[in-house]
């Protein structure tokens, strides 16, 4: 079955295979650069996330794609949907801000140049959950800016389901990667 492909691979020679590997590597590098560049522009470590739980239904379902930004000049407001990561928990959570408490500068006579210089305490809740998130904070009393990855600005349904499928069935991931790699090697154009 693969004899044909193997023969064509031999005919192409080492130089061609190396070139294809280089092409493949450059595709990967471009992807990484776009991802990191987007992260830089949006001021967030992950500008695109996939919804993993149903706690924001019916707004967001499992597999929906969310686009995040985290503007350095804006404070969080109630109603914003934030993605946050509690230290020690490995899965980021997408929930809505229910309460914000902004401290004023406590140094006498000094005013911070930006409201972001002040501490902001935040409480979140999932639209589909009956109670707020205090139990999810793992001992923290409030969420603060440093825990927040970004706020949701854009929405694209279903597309992220591919990544969920790949996580649930790792074989699929390897098959896909292997297949793509093989195609990249064999193709001659």
């Amino acid at each position: 079955m693969f004899a044909d492909e193997l023969r064509s691979l031999r005919r192409l020679g080492l130089r061609h295979i190396l070139l294809q590997i280089l092409n493949f590597a450059s595709v990967l590098a471009t992807g990484l650069m776009i991802w990191k560049g987007l992260g830089l522009a949006c001021n967030t470590e992950s500008p695109i996330v996939v919804v993993l739980s149903g706690s924001m239904e019916p707004a967001f379902y499992r597999g929906d794609l969310l686009f995040l930004t985290n503007p350095a000049s804006q404070r969080y407001q109630t109603g914003d949907i934030t993605v946050y990561k509690i230290p020690g928990a490995d899965i980021p959570i997408v929930h809505r801000v229910m309460e914000t408490h902004d401290d004023v500068s406590n140094k006498k006579g000094l005013v911070t140049a930006s409201p972001l210089g002040q501490r902001q305490r935040i409480l979140t809740k999932g639209d589909n959950n009956p109670v707020d998130d205090i139990d999810l904070y793992q001992g923290l009393e409030w969420l603060e800016r440093r825990h927040i990855v970004g706020k949701v600005r854009g929405f694209l349904p279903y597309v992220g389901y591919v990544t969920i499928a790949m996580n649930d069935f790792p074989q699929l991931k390897y098959a896909l990667l292997g297949g793509l790699g093989l195609l990249a090697l064999i193709q001659r154009e």
């Binding site: 019916p58 109630t78 109603g79 600005r153 929405f155």
Partner: protein
């Protein structure tokens, strides 16, 4: 050139780029709809009682209770790309320590245009508490009705439909439930 593989490849590539363009067009189209409906919110005087809250197990914390009236016709916010409205009533006040607070005290998800013509009385759905144990010396609170328009695809938008004209003062704590 005309292998089955090449054909499948071409068709799927064309289909996916068409879908992308269509989705982008739908997302952009909702920028055209710039409805900004206004309504009215009336908040009755608050009452404050000491209560147990989830946050501090063994401590009493003051909890404020209030009733409000909402009238707003939010139908214009529903266009072909509106999946749902997240509607919420928010309290804004500055407490005795000068900390600026915003708290959502009530919310509602509206999924159809028919539900969007609102006229209702409600009470706070979430416990309305201050940061410390009491509301003592807090400035009067403003209440506003806000909405978040959530699309089928595209950008999330926010707006304010109503706001109380005069701020509502926090009353003295009542010792017992009348």
């Amino acid at each position: 050139m005309h292998t089955t593989y090449a054909r499948i490849n071409n068709v799927t590539a064309f289909l996916s780029s068409c879908t992308m363009v269509l989705l982008a067009a739908i997302a952009l189209s909702s920028l055209v709809f710039t409805a900004n409906p206004k309504g009215e919110i009336i908040v009755s005087p608050m009452q404050i009682y000491a209560g147990n809250t989830r946050r501090y197990m063994n401590k009493k914390q003051d909890v404020a209770f209030l009733n409000f009236n909402l009238t707003a016709d939010l139908k214009p916010l529903f266009n072909w790309n509106t999946k749902q409205l997240f509607l919420y009533v928010q309290a804004e006040y500055t407490n005795a320590q000068g900390i600026q607070n915003e708290a959502v005290i009530w919310d509602k998800i509206i999924r159809t245009k028919e539900e969007a013509d609102l006229s209702l009385t409600g009470r706070n759905k979430y416990l309305f508490r201050n940061l410390g144990s009491s509301f003592k010396n807090a400035q009067p609170a403003h209440f506003s009705l806000k909405y978040n328009v959530m699309p089928y695809v595209g950008l999330l938008t926010y707006g304010e439909a109503a706001r109380t004209g005069v701020p509502i003062p926090f009353p003295e704590k009542r010792s017992e439930v009348a």
